[in-house]
Structures are given as C-alpha cells and as structure tokens.
Amino acid sequence: MTTSLLTTDARTKKRNAAEARFKAYGLGAIIVAMLALVILLTSVLGNGLSSFQQTFISLNVELPEDKLDKSGVRDISVMSKVTTIGYAPILRNALLATLEEQGIETDLSNKEISNMISKEAAATVRNRVLGSPDLVGQTVQFDVLASGRIDGFFKGRVTMESAALDGNTSPEALEIAQALADAGIMQTKFNWNFFVWPDASDQRPEAAGIGVAILGSLYMMLIVLCLALPIGVASSIYLEEFAPKNRWTDVIEVNISNLAAVPSIVFGILGLAIFINFMEFNQSSPLVGGLVLTLMTLPTIIISTRAALKSVPPSIRDAALGVGASKMQSVFHHVLPLAAPGILTGTIIGLAQALGETAPLLLIGMVAFVREYPAAFTPESGLFGEASTALPVQVYNWTQRADPGFVERASGAIITLLVFLLIMNAVAIYLRRRFERRW
C-alpha cells in the first residue's frame, strides 16, 4: 500500500520538476537581462571610450604682423577685426612649414592641407593672440586640434578605404598624418577638454565637449535638491505625523502616487505653460529646467520619505511623548533622525532619475546649441537664468548630427552620465547600509 519515502512518487516528481523548471526560468531571465546589459555597455564603451582621447598637432606658428595687426600698435579693438577666417591660412602655412621641415612631400591642395587642422584651431590661436598681443611678429608653439577625420584615423574609425570614398579627407592626407605621428608632431593623448569644452557645431566634432551640459545638469540638480527635499520632507511629515486620517488626506495620497506615474513630458508641458509663458522666466534656463524636474521628483521623494517615517516604530514616538516631549519635538528630535537614511536614499534616487531625464527639457528649450557657460547669477538674467543644456539632452543632440565623429562624442557623454548615476546610487546604498537601523 504505502510506498517508501525514499522512492519519489509521481506527484513529488512532478512538483520537483516544476521547481527545477521555475529555477531555470529565473536563471534564464537573469541571463537575458545580463546579456542585454553587457551588449549595451560594450556598444557604449566601444564607441565612447575613444572620446576621452584626442589627436593634437604641435605647430610652430609664425604670427605675421602684416596679417594680424596692420596698424602695428597692438590695439586689441583693431586686431579683433581679423576674424578666425583670417587666421586659417596662418595655420595652414605653419603646417606646410612643418611638413617641409620633416621632409614630407605632398601634392595636396591648400584646402586639403587646411582640412587636416580643426576649424577650432583658428579660434585657439586668435584667443591667445588677443590675450597677449605681444606675440604678433613672433613664432609661437601651439598644440592645436587635428580635424575629426584625422583624429578618427588614429582611433580606427577612419580607414584608408573609407577615406578614399570620403569627400572630407583622402588617403594621402592620412599618410601625411601617419608620418607626422611617427615624427611625434601629431599625438593622440588624454583629452580633459572633453569634460570642459562646450558643444561645437557640425563642422568641428573634435572640439565638442560636455562642459556646458555638466554645468547645466549641476545647476538643475542644485535647484531640485534645494526645493524638492524641503518641500517633500515637510509635506510627508505633515501627512504622516500630523494630518488627520480622513477622506481628504486619502485623496491627496492617491494623487501623489498618481503623480509619480505621470509621464515626464507632461511636466514639460506644464513648465512651458507656467514658468515660461506665465511667469516669464527665460527659455532654456536651468532655473526652468530645475523647477520642472523638482515637480517631477517631488512625488518620488514624498513616497520614499513617508515609507521611511512609517518604518520608525511607534514606540519611539510614544516614549518621547511619554517623557513630556511635544508632538513636534518627538518628530524632529527622534523620528526624523531615525528616518534620515531612508529619506536621503529616496532623495538621491529621485535626483538620479531627474539627472537622466530628457523629455520635459525638450519643451522648455533646453535641447539647444549652447556654447556659453551659464553663470549661476547675473544681474540681467537672475539666478540660473542663462541658457544651458543638460547631459542627457546633449546625448540626444549629438545622435542627430551628420558627422560620424559625433557618435563617439554621444557615447562618451553617455559614459559620463552613467558614471554620475553609478556614483549617486553607490552613495545611496552606502548611506542605507551605514546608517539604517532595524528594529
């Protein structure tokens, strides 16, 4: 009748098989997720790591007085009449002189020689000359950027085959670049400027950087932190500790949870209508961006703060009240400090979410070409009122550019953004581990 426990019957076998299958599904799901992550990271890192390197040409540039300062009195206002277009031939001559010095022969046209040097180089030289006019008439050494195609050649993006088909460079130009690199005149080195320089136009992918975007994102995070944290914490404390439990607070609670799920673009529409059209704040400014992101982050912070407050055991409150503390004293002296790690974690995660947000910024004019570093305060445009972009927006911008050099830049910006997010999440985890108390 009864079978031994040691021999599994059909039903047990079926249950064990179901369990094994479930484990396999779970493992499969993890593997799929990990694979997706690995593919994403390899593609981003593979494309983007090269953006941290840049090719420079070191040139001895002769700065002729008859071209740069005809008056000869070194008057800045007169010298600034010579535009960067006027500086381009000077750089070309410097490169030709270097080629001759190195014994590299070439039959490339003047235009093709000019195309080896970045268009940014003229601005570099001009700014330095206007900064110290005494340099005119001398020969000065400059480290200028090589053009995007030459830079791409040293990074493997441009090959001899692709250059033969390319209207912007030629195999001959690449051979010269190789010869210059062999002579140590052209060098590919680490490029701090990527993190400092502003965006550049389609003709100068090699000069594009994320300086303005980082600054804009920083300002916005500052605004979000200064507004969303106090407002969010204050409203959660009130809702959790003081508010009576009735229909109204239920309605508010449901609405807050709903707001957390509203698509972020809706906040952008709201920002455009209220902050720009009604309150007349400046378009594209970090102020408006920060306010919009604050609205978006508030529900996240309120929900996590309330959860943190809820997790503080009632006995703490009772004990404080029992020794004669007022309700406010019990909250601020006892409950809030114990809930702080949870609140901070929620805030940091909310900030990280806001940092990576693009959609609402589309509508308030932050998807823009901005080259001026925004000042935190100016008398004309007020606090955080100058135009700026943000990191995720910069990525979006660069993926739309025609020049293939921007693919590398966009991936570089993604890597930077991911590093920031990783740091923020790591801090959140650390705070939780370090200060969290369990009862």
Binding site: G382, G385, A387, Q400, A402, P404
Partner: protein, 346 residues
C-alpha cells in the same frame, strides 16, 4: 537643524527668483532641423569673433519654430526662426494677432535633396518618373486607376536591376516631405502622362488629380522616417536594398557609407544645384523679429554676419558643409542691412 537651513535657502532662492526680471543678452534662435547645422556653424563663428555671446540655437522643426516665433514680442520669445520653407500666410496672420507685425525674411541659400543607397549596393540613375511609378499608391493601367503592385526596380524601369523596392522617405512632419512630393512624385506623375490620364478619369479636376498623384503607397515598400537623417542612414545600413532621401549636406558628410543616385542624369552637387540643373532643391530661410533689433543685443549683427560673403558665400564654411550659396546673396544682404520687412514693398 539642516531642514531649517534648507527651508531658509529655499526662501532666499524663491525671493531672488521673484526679483530677477527676465532679461537676456544672447540671441535666441529656433526652428528647422535642416537649417540647424548651418545656424550653429554661424553661431559658433559669430561667438568666436564678436563681443556678443554665442547665440542659442534650438531645433524642433520649421512649423514649431515659426509657432514660437509668433508667440509675441518680448524677451521670453525667440528672436529668429529658422525654416526650410517660406512662412505661410496663416502663420503671418497668427504673428500679427500676437503683435509680431514686422518680420524680415532672409533667404540663406538652397538645400539639395538627394537619393542615396548603401555604398556596396547597386547604383541608380533615376528620373522623377521612376519614383512616381515605384511609390505611387495608385497608378493608371489600361485607363483605370488600380493599386500599385510593382515590387522590384526592374518592373519600374527595365534598365534597373531586379532589386526589391524599399524606400525610406521623410515623414509628413518634415518640410523635406513636401519638396519630395512636389518636385519628384508630382513631377514624375506629370512627365509620365499619368496626370492627364487621371484628369481624364476624374473629369478634369486638377486638384484631385494632384492629390491622387502624390498619394504614397502604404504597403510597407515605402517607409516614413519621422526622425532625422541619422535614422534613415541606420535603416539603409540594416537593409542594403534600401534607398533613402537625404539632405545634400548629410550625404556629403557620409560619402564613405552612401552612394548618391543621379536625378534626370544630373549628379547632385552644390554646383549643379546652384546652376539649377539638379531639379530637387528648395530655399532655406530665417525670419527676424524686427522689434527685437536694438532690444536684444546682437540680433542684427548675427543676421548680417550669417549672410555675409565670408560665411554664406560660395567659398564660405556653409557652402563647404553643403549649403548651395544663393546667387542673389547681395540683395539678401541689402534686405538685412536696411531691415526691409515683409509686405513693405521692394
């Protein structure tokens, strides 16, 4: 108590914000994504060489740009709208209703629209007629309108290889789509005589016939691309049979991946478009709010610099990037210099 401090900071922040009047010292530009690269090139050089800050250039499309342009006069509205088509009379009316009455129209040059396919695929020599026959939703066969059923290019024109038809054309929100429909599909419809045949069928209604001509098939052989040219390029790289519609500037920056097709035996180059030989091109514009000249610093200087010979001329950086220089640049320069508004004659 740190919360208290933060609250105080917030109060200060709010107070500062409230007292600061919105004012700006940089030119603000928005509009067509086709004009965006040119505008940002000019903005960059302008910022480099003048004492004014670099203008801020946004994209978003011609219609969106002109809509924002027409929102009113004031520091929180844009100064210049880029457009890949001329402003419509309805938009001029909307502008006037919001107080934007003085608009200066500036034509910066011409943009070519080219057909390009994967560099390793077959080359093509198109005529508008080929495109009409390949992409029309309905064609006239034996005196009746029937659904277009051609599936390979050799069915369109025996000279072509037997390659499946797969076209990536701009979506309807793009200004480029209008040009494609009018200068390629409609032109092909007229050239092939299909226009007359359709008018014969519908009783001579020309507007309806044009509508029938320009209706693009929706069976998947023609795909609307609502994104940018980078998306079209990615689709062609994934599907080697694909033929895409690009701006000339985009093609010229990706000649190592794309080969361009001729249209009516003309290779699209800035020269052939400037000479008027290449048929598919369109003017690009920007519009200046005259009321902002002298109020926002640098508006007029930026506009003058944009159309100067150094920038927009045939040897300037814009032409180098793919803009077809305007043969009548001198008159455009005069328009900007004299601040001639639209509708004020001359």
């Amino acid at each position: 108590m740190s919360i208290m401090k933060l609250t105080a900071t917030t109060a200060v922040l709010a107070a500062l914000t409230a007292t600061s009047a919105a004012a700006r010292d940089n030119v603000q530009v928005a509009g067509s994504s086709t004009v965006l690269p040119y505008a940002s090139i000019v903005a960059e050089v302008f910022g480099e060489n003048f004492d004014f800050p670099t203008p801020v250039v946004e994209s978003g499309g011609s219609s969106a740009g002109l809509k924002r342009f027409c929102e009113g006069v004031g520091e929180n509205t844009i100064d210049i709208a880029n457009a890949s088509r001329a402003i419509k009379s309805s938009e001029i009316e909307a502008c006037a209703a919001a107080g934007v009455t003085d608009i200066i129209e500036v034509r910066i040059g011409y943009d070519g629209i080219v057909f390009a396919s994967d560099i390793n695929g077959n080359g093509f020599e198109f005529t508008p007629e080929d495109w009409y026959k390949a992409l029309a939703a309905e064609v006239v066969v034996d005196g009746a309108l029937v659904t277009n059923t051609v599936e390979t290019w050799d069915q369109v024109n025996p000279a072509f290889p037997a390659q499946p038809i797969q076209a990536f054309i701009p979506g309807t929100k793009h200004g480029t789509r209008e040009v494609f429909e009018e200068k390629v599909i409609l032109a092909g419809c007229e050239e092939s005589g299909a226009m007359e045949a359709i008018m014969g069928l519908n009783g001579g209604d020309e507007d309806a016939a044009e509508g029938t001509c320009m209706a693009i098939r929706t069976d998947g052989l023609s795909v609307d691309i609502d994104g940018d040219y980078t998306e079209t390029l990615a689709r062609i790289e994934a599907d080697n049979n694909g033929i895409g519609v690009f701006g000339l500037a985009f093609y010229e920056n990706n000649t190592d991946k794309l080969q361009v097709a001729t249209m009516s035996d003309v290779v699209p180059t800035t020269e052939s478009i400037a000479a008027g030989d290449y048929p598919v091109s369109r003017p690009l514009y920007f519009y200046i709010k005259a009321a902002h000249i002298g109020v926002v610093p640098g508006v007029k200087e930026f506009a003058e610099f944009f159309v100067s010979d150094d920038i927009a001329g045939p040897d300037g950086p814009l032409a180098e990037y793919g803009l077809v220089s305007d043969p009548e640049l001198a008159s455009v320069q005069a328009t900007v210099a004299d601040e001639v508004t639209m509708g004020s004659g001359s």
